[in-house]
Symmetry: C2
Subunit: 283 residues, 2 copies
């Protein structure tokens, strides 16, 4: 496994790999790797001849009052995990490598960025779409691997790739959970012991929604009321949103039909967690 | 020479060419090819093993009251010119091929789009940046060729390529002019005989500016007054702007220094023409 910090070095490695006609897979991460990322590296390892993991805490996707500075950066542990699960190349640039001069070019994806996390994080997805495009252009992968946990991000990147004719495909891998159901996230480590005890209730509420939809409930309000009752059992969880949207277009659904994405964001103290579940509504 | 309409066909041709390790050059055009485009094709021919000319009147870069519908589309003549000057592949898609579903993804380049034509054509450069990105991703050229006549466009595309780490380089070729100095443009054919007679005064005004700057004049207002006097000789020319900006950043200059782009846009009846000149200010 090789680890590089510079864009020109990445390009050299990729050129060599291309000459060997290997398929290139990219797992873009902000580091603080966990079982969720490992599942992405494993999926990439299975599908591609050469696996690149990028580790970059991207400043342009954090809002001014978000956790950019305190976001965990356990690089040694990350490199160890990448090696263990068979990554070939780690790209770990400094911000000045990715943004050497004032960044004036931004990619926006309309409509898909309006609902869910887009409402409270107005420039977040612009930062995500822009840095992903930069990484795609630097690494030129055939496949990029994203987690279903960040469902809105995955839908946005898919639409961006289609709209801009980018020559790669996206693979979306299932959310990895702790035994008690909590979606694994780099931000879980911010939780106090008490918050951590209550956090799995988010997934309990999502499963309740899935059950109701599978039973034929099509009214999101009815389901929201029942989910809020579940979440109310947790004293330390402050829901930010509970939304029902189309999985591909991320447009809010008044009546549930098709592939429904049920998504929750909630604050536990100053830590913000998100989770979701995809359910096929009854015909 | 081959001509294709479909993206998947372009990709097949490019894959073959790549297998032969040829350098790919792209000349993106809206058709209605003239001597300016020919100079770009020739520059591409000289630099690259395989030359692609795209011919696409891109709807997303026209404003609602602009000339999209009446923009000339002399395809047979265009193909003949491309053949004559040695293009290898013509990509001539229909709008539905380039925009098969609602386009929600847009590329914006801040600051560089504010001055000059950006002021009166607010979404023009967003459309240009987005369609160029699509063409770059479809054709994956090593080089793309643009004309200096569209100086702001060239500066924007250059900054976009740098900001997004796109794996290609831009070559900017000199403006081609008629014998009387008028910059060659597809829109010149809209001019009446009387307008055509007066049109070269635009370039006369630019040369006057160049002379003054070379003589050491650093005050743009002083030069503007003299340029307006020149333009006033033409009864049918209505200047839209006369601006002095930095050639790379397209930021207006209060005091002329460095590489100065002097740019004019003017209306002749309903036809809007642009032209510019680059002058190195005295140290």
């Amino acid at each position: 496994m090789n680890a590089v910090h510079r864009i020109d070095h990445v390009r050299e490695f990729i050129a060599q790999v291309r000459a060997q006609k290997k398929t290139v897979g990219l797992v873009p991460t902000m580091g603080a790797l966990h079982a969720g990322h490992v599942s992405l590296i494993q999926a990439a390892r299975q599908k591609c001849g050469y696996v690149v993991v990028s580790i970059f805490v991207n400043p342009t996707q954090f809002g001014p009052n978000e956790d950019f500075d305190r976001y965990p950066r356990p690089l040694e542990n990350d490199l160890e995990l990448c090696g263990k699960y068979g990554a070939d190349l780690i790209f770990n640039p400094m911000p000045a490598q990715m943004y050497p001069s004032e960044q004036l070019t931004w990619i926006t994806v309309e409509k898909l960025t309006a609902a869910l996390c887009g409402a409270s994080r107005p420039s977040h997805f612009q930062g995500v779409a822009t840095v992903c495009t930069k990484l795609f252009n630097i690494i030129q992968p055939d496949y990029a691997f994203f987690g279903q946990k960040d469902a809105q991000q995955a839908a946005i990147i898919k639409k961006m790739i289609a709209d801009l004719n980018m020559p790669l495909q996206i693979e979306v891998c299932p959310t990895v959970r702790e035994d008690d159901g909590l979606a694994i996230s780099s931000r879980n480590q911010y939780l106090t012991a008490e918050q951590r005890d209550e956090a799995p209730i988010i997934y309990t509420a999502l499963r309740q929604a899935a059950q109701l939809i599978q039973q034929g409930e099509t009214n999101p309000q009815t389901i929201t009321v029942k989910m809020r009752k579940v979440l109310d059992r947790a004293l330390l969880i402050e829901p930010e949103y509970i939304e029902f949207v189309d999985t591909d277009t991320i447009q809010p659904l008044d009546v549930l039909k098709g592939r429904v994405l049920v998504a929750i964001a909630a604050k536990l103290g100053s830590t913000r967690l998100i989770d979701n579940i995809i359910v096929d509504a009854k015909e």
